[in-house]
Symmetry: C2
Subunit: 279 residues, 2 copies
């Protein structure tokens, strides 16, 4: 049976074979969640700040609500989920990064002492991921080519943003796994990367971490997964609706997941020689 990567063991967590296994496994998770999301219409209202009144952030410090600011339904739900999930230690794990760091609370579970795996860094590109997700990835994934857009359904607003949280968290985890990839590569070819980092040669770093053949294989595998998981294996082809648009899944990886992962790797390496310590 497959198992999750062991982050309590630094040499296992930085073994490129284990990382590769985890990244391939996350493709399944991401595809599953996306298939669940696109059962519902795009419902752009849920992504629009102020479109639904009364959605304000709650802050952990006082435990009560404030009326400051206004959020989209997605942001409200994502923020509240992060508040809640922080209580059961989600953001203590070195592979989890919040979209709303100011919403996190002190866990009610005893803390886990994870070993140091990564160099201290503040790389978090969730804001960019969320912007791409709501404005580009979701509109493409929910589109039914050659047919009109499904009308908004307010009965599905909650379902849509519940699925969105699952999709965004899985995508964020996949993309920030780039830090483990980068650290592993740095440890393997330290001299080469030290020279590139000292020269602030982001393009050189990007070239050093890019393997076009592997990227092509990832995209081919994604298409196969979208096609396999995206239809009922017992259904007759002519009467079984396709659950997800395979082109949209492949584009999501090609245009967003892979480039954002590389951005994480480059920015992580740019901080790799800093003397900063964890707070």
């Amino acid at each position: 049976m497959d198992t999750a990567i062991d982050l309590s063991n630094p040499s296992a967590a930085l073994d490129l074979n284990n990382i590769r296994f985890q990244l391939i496994r996350l493709e399944d998770t991401i595809t599953f969640h996306l298939i669940e999301r696109v059962q519902f219409p795009l419902n752009p209202t849920v992504y629009t700040t102020g479109a639904i009144p009364g959605l304000h952030p709650t802050f952990p410090t006082k435990g009560g609500s404030t009326s400051e600011g206004s959020l989209s339904l997605l942001d409200w739900n994502l923020r509240e989920q992060e508040r809640l999930q922080s209580l059961i230690r989600r953001y203590q794990s070195p592979d989890e990064y919040p979209f709303f760091p100011d919403a996190l609370q002190t866990p009610i579970l005893p803390p886990i002492q994870y070993p140091r795996i990564l160099h201290p860094n503040d790389v978090n590109i969730n804001a960019k991921l969320k912007e791409k997700y709501t404005n580009e990835i979701m509109p493409a994934a929910c589109a039914q080519y050659g047919r009109p857009e499904r009308p908004e359904a307010q009965e599905n607003f909650g379902s849509a943003v519940t699925c969105d949280v699952m999709c965004l968290q899985a995508l964020s985890r996949r993309i920030h796994f780039g830090k483990f990839v980068a650290e592993s590569k740095f440890q393997k070819e330290t001299d080469r990367f030290v020279a590139l980092i000292k020269a602030e040669d982001r393009i050189g770093i990007d070239a050093a971490i890019t393997d076009a053949k592997v990227e092509q294989k990832v995209l081919e595998r994604l298409r196969l997964k979208a096609n396999t998981y995206g239809k009922d294996p017992a259904g007759l082809a002519e009467e079984t609706p396709v659950k997800v648009n395979a082109d949209a899944v492949v584009s999501m990886y090609k245009d967003y997941v892979i480039p954002l992962t590389k951005e994480v790797e480059v920015e992580y390496l740019m901080q790799r020689l800093n003397n900063t310590q964890w707070e």
Copy 2:
């Protein structure tokens, strides 16, 4: 593209073809969530009341925590998730039933006026479902036949109960869809069911709603789905670990999902002639 059943339209919601489509689609959802859950060990500590100190229920009325009672981590997380999800109207939907009705809060989204689809009833077998899930379904699903049980991993406690909530909610939705099946059958063969209900003939009702051939087909389809979604379609058979135990998925349906769905159908029909009105 496939779409969720339209519960704002009573005749669509009670059309047996639409219900059948939704039930088949929920098999995918349940299988996906189960595959995600069994990445992690069983971690029986998360199901044990009092095993982790400090987990107390919070109540919606006062908005603060109390120190009364003690919960397992699963119950704590499921209860807090229901509190949060009730705010975005999850439990207004006629196909959603809470595990902790006393935790629900008034939605912050404007209410949706769903049409009357079902007869007033108080059937909710989530307590039984949760008991079977934690004591029987999960131990079987997490077992790796012929190999020792994976040791507990406290780094995965939060991940495990996060997945458990998804599994339980999907299973609950599937099982309580029995009400729609029962209502549809009642409307088709009203005289027959009225006689059985008046005679309090639960065995006769169970026989009237049972189709052994259809049940056999469901189990065969489940095995195919578990095998298809449970392995990487691009992986080499010898090196790709199986993600889920297909026998456990089939048994879950055979021994729990199908019998509990029929129990919902029978109990719903037993209340079908009552004069009770919705509060």
